[in-house]
């Protein structure tokens, strides 16, 4: 099968890869770029752990054809920390015990970032809606909701 050249920005850095037709963005990020932070959960858009931002908007990378992101800007959890410092959302997740097994955490953090980037002081209902496409098995969501609200409030912990 012929491959298609593809260029896009990945966490602020230009990348160029060759993809097979039909390759999804999740596979391109994990296997061709080596960014393992978007997780493979269900592969059909049901769990949210593969969530990434495309030009600032939340998308499921497992349902996004890689070729459609040519020239666009992709953000993943790998680009979230600021130098040696954790992003306030990451700090708040740690302080609020918002992760257990951790498999949903990358998707939760990206969904939370998408929310706070456009709405810095969301209500609890808005936080719930923002992460409603993401499944968590361990936490019961409450610590995650509290962490996002704490990060929005500029507090280190709830």
């Amino acid at each position: 099968m012929s491959k298609t050249p593809l260029q896009f920005r990945h966490n602020g850095r230009d990348v160029a890869i060759f993809v097979d037709g039909g390759t999804n963005l999740l596979v391109a990020l994990r296997e061709l770029i080596g960014d393992m932070t978007p997780k493979f959960g269900c592969g059909q858009g049901g769990c949210g752990t593969c969530s990434v931002l495309i030009d600032g908007e939340l998308h499921l990378s497992c349902l996004t054809l890689a070729e459609t992101v040519a020239g666009r800007s992709i953000e993943t959890l790998d680009g979230m920390k600021q130098g040696p410092n954790l992003h306030p959302l990451q700090r708040a997740f740690a302080d609020n015990f918002a992760a257990q097994c951790g498999y949903c955490t990358p998707g939760m953090l990206m969904a939370a970032k998408a929310l706070l980037d456009r709405n810095p002081s969301p209500s609890r209902a808005e936080v719930v809606e923002a992460i409603s496409g993401n499944i968590c098995r361990c936490t019961g969501y409450e610590p995650i909701i509290n962490a996002i609200l704490a990060a929005a409030g500029g507090r280190a912990s709830a």
Partner: protein, 340 residues
């Protein structure tokens, strides 16, 4: 259409670990020449926090800062044997094994320190900050790092310890059938309040109130995390998830997360939790284990709450809207029970 509120309660006795084959776990503890300690385990941390808790237990027993202990659970091929992370046994069984290993390692460490300070080991104590000194004479002191270096390069000693925890196998009495399946029990009580829609059969959680007696909470935030999250696994078993909805008929079995239902963030409700600490005589520092029991009382409490709300007794999990609706129709309508 009416939405009926109902309240249900359940209490549990929960055995920690299992008795079959004695349920053993092993741990090995050794110091590095830097004076830091490594705990080798085959027990797996699934996110429940066993690495944190065994680290605390080891540091406390050795008398060193928690930062000086590293827990390695990397490989069950090369690590000491563990039965596994299940049956809420990690803190209790593995914790006890770590404690035994750390105690033995501490003995060697104190002997090595005694040799360097030219005193009797019985006269030494740890300060919990990385130093060992003569009791009542803090200036007669040596760091654990210097002890480790002396043991390694001068005395030719390994500062290490072995630990195992084994519950003796309880045989069944042939006359009475009596046996002791467990040595340690945790307890819980949970009240669930639900709202049942008599037109759709849907059950919504309104609130939960619970009390858990689980020995000493070695890490209170991790205990809280387990209880908060585990309750929703219980709700999920009670109301949502099953791989075989029409068992044994595989028709309509779920194929993905759209059909295999679990609670989402919009389904949760307030949950007030009281943790009661009554130290267990045979637990490490009195700990039992919050593990699975955080889900267990939720299932019967929710089933009881549904009965209280609409008068239908459903004993087949999960309690789906279809089952609720069929039961309501079979009895000719919702029959709310007395609120208690």
């Amino acid at each position: 259409m009416t939405r009926h509120r109902g309240r249900g309660m359940a209490s549990i006795n929960y055995p920690i670990g299992m008795n079959l084959g004695g349920d053993p776990s092993q741990a090995l503890v050794h110091s590095n020449p830097s004076g830091k300690f490594t705990v080798a385990l085959s027990s797996i941390d699934l996110g429940q926090g066993m690495k944190s808790v065994t680290r605390q237990i080891c540091a406390e027993t050795l008398g060193v800062p928690v930062e000086d202990v590293y827990v390695d659970t990397a490989d069950s091929d090369t690590g000491p044997h563990c039965m596994g992370s299940f049956a809420s046994r990690g803190t209790h069984r593995v914790g006890n094994a770590v404690m035994a290993a750390a105690r033995e390692a501490r003995g060697v460490m104190m002997e090595a320190a005694a040799e360097e300070l030219e005193v009797n080991a019985a006269d030494l104590e740890t300060d919990g900050r990385g130093n060992i000194h003569v009791k009542g004479a803090p200036h007669r002191s040596i760091s654990t790092k210097d002890v480790a270096i002396a043991a390694q390069f001068k005395q030719g000693k390994t500062i290490s310890g072995r630990g195992i925890f084994l519950v003796p196998l309880s045989d069944v009495d042939p006359e009475t059938g009596e046996m002791s399946p467990a040595t340690c029990y945790a307890h819980a009580c949970l009240v669930a309040e639900v709202e049942v829609d008599d037109e759709t059969g849907e059950v919504a959680m309104v609130r939960m109130d619970s009390a858990y007696e689980l020995g000493r909470a070695l890490n209170p935030r991790l205990v809280e995390q387990q209880l908060v999250g585990g309750a929703w696994m219980g709700v999920s078993h009670a109301l949502y998830e099953t791989p075989e909805p029409y068992y044994p008929d595989p028709v309509h079995g779920p194929r993905d997360f759209v059909e295999y239902l679990m609670p989402g963030p919009g389904d949760i409700c307030p949950h007030d939790i009281a943790v009661l600490e009554r130290p267990a005589p045979d637990g490490p520092f009195g700990a039992k284990g919050p593990g699975e029991m955080c889900a267990n009382p939720v299932l019967p409490a929710v089933a009881n709450a549904i009965f209280n709300a609409v008068g239908v007794r459903i004993d087949d999990l999960p309690i789906t809207p279809e089952k609720v609706l069929r039961a309501i129709k079979a009895q000719g309508g919702a029959r709310p029970q007395a609120r208690r």
